[in-house]
Amino acid sequence: MLYLDTLPKGGHAVIEKVEQRAPLDPIATRLGELGFVPGEAVQVVATGPMGRDPIAVRLGTSRFALRRGEAARVGLRTVS
């Protein structure tokens, strides 16, 4: 499966699932509260200048900066 941390800059995709790294993973929960839920469209709008970390993601009308470890929890399916 493709994950948000490997989506190239400018790439569009739709969220398939958000994975828990641990039981009651607070980061996965927070991602959900921010709107990272299955079915939402995401786009990577920028990557950090050092080691392409963090990444800036557009999710509907909001934009979030995520570190790669956080983005790696978000599984995607690509759209044409």
């Binding site: 963090p54 009308t61 909001s62 900066a65 956080e70």
Partner: protein
């Protein structure tokens, strides 16, 4: 909704709270409602800012409003969200439960903010929605069926534009009506995200899918991997140029003005204790306080403007990887950079860090960033003990030592931050930073923000600094020397005696009694150490030539080990009461201040000890 004279609601008072996501327009609404009738403090025991304000509705109802910290959810992940959750649930230790919530929701970001509103519906408290940024939403071509949405949610919705009084009038009028009934909670098992999607699909017509094209275009430049950092460097360069260059003439002017004022006002007084108390205690203390103001105000003008415009989170994005080396996030960069000018505005700037742990660590390591007040001490000691010669033909040895002192301080700060950010929570430290749309900063908001900074600094920090200054003056002046006594007056004072006693502690790091004595008045401000050394060596402290005449004296009387040890001491020691005072104010915890002083003095002693003994071993002085 219209303002109706309603017999059921006499002009009784009402206690409400503003709740909403970060960047929902809550702060501008709060500022517009309350103007300057605000009280800013901390919640007991946590580094979370508590903002309360007062205003009156058109019908004369007195409203007390609490501006709760921005939150994404009541399922909190940070101490500021804890405060919001506890107050909303009526579980807070010191804060009573508000009678009604005003949920602030940005029309430009409905998907995110409506989800939080659905959580607020569960609370059983009356709620009114203030729908902010309607002007912007319309510009983006967004159409919202407010009447339909309000009926569906079962919550009154009033559109607000927080730019002027007329823009918040609908909310003021709604507050004159009887309290609405608490909304019906969502049925159990209903996914709030699905519910939000349904609401958006039913009540929002959104031809351009709400896209903010301007923000997209600006982000392409400001977040570009090459141009982004270049622009950030230019912004930071201009910012610190103004903090240093613009503030300096103002600081000099204020400093001179205060001394002139002192001379004129105190002239009629006879010389003696009262004159000395007013001139060297009170006025000198007030001078120290006021002289900080230009730097604080210029720095905060920048920070407030960058924050309001939406650029500050972008700067944090660009710097995040760099600051992660210290276990912090990009948000800590500007407060730490400011601390190179002075730790006081730096520590105050740490207020822009949302994550409380990062904020505390940033405050704790800010004194390690070499502030400009250390320069006079560094220059004096380097001038006296480091030979003026070049290394490898291009570098001056004196410059290299100075560079080394800065580098050691930065490395120590990074290590200290790493140590402090470990342990308590070794788990992953999230960034999850929202990048809001770019906006033009509102001048009224900026002015109000600056005014608050100035008042808070002068009233809360200023009084502590003046008091401590008078205390230090008394320590250094009493008891008076016997008539005709040889030696400097300070030697007979309490400070002098304490200094002599301190020598037991400081002899292992090579400090003589003169240094120990001058460290006490030097607590008032780091650079004061130079003039107090001059006093102790009886050169006459006040004239400007003190440092020049001190230089040859020190190089003959002190060993190199002692001088280097004092340099090492100054890299770490919190030799500045004002810094500790502002720390006390910002963290609201005397324990934190004592902890910070203990770790910094501890580091200073250790570094000076090592430096003293290593230098002695190298120079072969027993």
């Amino acid at each position: 909704m219209s303002a109706t004279e309603s017999p059921q609601t006499p002009a009784s008072s009402l206690h409400i709270a503003l709740v909403g996501n970060p960047n929902c327009g809550k702060t501008s609404l709060f500022n517009q409602l309350t103007g300057s009738r605000q009280k800013v403090a901390n919640y007991a025991g946590v580094t979370v800012e508590r903002k309360e304000g007062f205003f009156t509705t058109p019908n004369g109802r007195a409203i007390r409003v609490l501006d709760l910290p921005g939150a994404y959810s009541l399922d909190s992940t940070s101490p500021d969200e804890d405060v919001t959750r506890d107050v909303c649930l009526g579980r807070h230790r010191t804060e009573p439960r508000p009678e009604m919530l005003v949920a602030v929701i940005s029309a430009t970001n409905l998907r995110l903010h409506l989800r939080f509103l659905l959580e607020l519906k569960q609370l059983g408290l009356p709620v009114i929605v203030a729908l902010s940024m309607m002007d912007e939403a319309r510009r983006h071509g967004l159409q919202i069926d407010i009447a339909g949405l309000q009926a569906d949610l079962g919550i009154p919705i009033v559109p607000v534009i927080s730019l002027n009084r007329a823009g918040v009038m609908p909310l003021l009028q709604a507050l004159d009506l009887p309290l609405p009934a608490p909304p019906v909670p969502l049925p159990a098992g209903l996914d709030p995200h699905m519910e939000v999607r349904r609401l958006l699909a039913t009540y929002v017509v959104d031809p351009a899918s709400g896209t903010d094209r301007l923000t997209d275009r600006l982000d392409r430049v400001f977040l570009h991997p090459v141009w982004g950092p270049v622009i950030l460097l230019i912004v930071l360069f201009v910012m610190f140029q103004t903090v240093f260059a613009w503030a300096q003439p103002l600081m000099d002017g204020l400093g001179n003005g205060i001394s002139l004022f002192g001379e004129i006002v105190l002239k009629p007084l006879p010389g003696g204790v009262l004159h000395s108390l007013l001139a060297d205690g009170v006025l000198a203390g007030a001078g120290t306080v006021i002289v900080f103001l230009p730097q604080i105000l210029i720095l905060f003008l920048w920070i407030l403007a960058l924050e309001e415009s939406g650029y500050l989170p972008r700067a944090a994005f660009l710097l995040d990887r760099l600051m992660a080396l210290a276990g912090l996030s990009g948000r800590s960069f500007i407060p730490l950079l400011s601390s190179f000018a002075c730790a006081i505005p730096g520590i105050m700037a740490a207020r822009t860090i949302q994550n409380p742990r990062d904020r505390l660590v940033t405050i704790l390591i800010a004194p390690l960033m070499t502030c400009s007040a250390r320069l006079p001490v560094y220059t004096l000691l380097i001038g006296a003990f480091v030979p003026h010669r070049s290394v490898l033909g291009i570098f001056g040895l004196q410059g290299l030592v100075l560079f080394g002192l800065y580098a050691v301080a930065i490395v120590s700060g990074v290590i200290a931050a790493r140590v402090m950010t470990r342990g308590v929570k070794s788990e992953e430290h999230p960034l999850l930073l929202e990048l809001p749309s770019y906006r033009r900063p509102n001048l009224r908001s900026l002015a109000l923000g600056l005014w608050q900074q100035a008042v808070m600094f002068l009233s809360r920090v200023g009084t502590i600094i003046v008091t401590l200054n008078v205390l230090l003056w008394a320590l250094s002046s009493f008891p008076l020397p016997p008539a005709g006594a040889p030696g400097p007056a300070i030697d007979y004072s309490l400070a002098g005696r304490i200094g002599h006693l301190m020598q037991w502690v400081f002899a292992p790091i090579g400090f003589n009694w003169q240094i120990c004595v001058s460290l006490i008045p030097g607590l008032a401000a780091r650079e004061v150490a130079v003039s107090s050394l001059a006093t102790v060596y009886a050169i006459g402290a006040t004239d400007d030539g003190a440092a020049d005449r001190l230089l040859p004296l020190l190089s003959t009387q002190w060993s190199m080990a002692t001088a280097f040890s004092l340099l090492a001491w100054y890299v770490y020691a919190p030799q500045c009461i004002s810094t500790l005072a502002v720390m006390r104010r910002e963290t609201g915890s005397i324990k934190t201040v004592l902890g910070a002083a203990a770790y910094l003095f501890g580091l200073a002693y250790l570094a000076a000890f090592l430096t003293y003994h290593i230098t002695r071993a190298i120079t072969g002085v027993p």
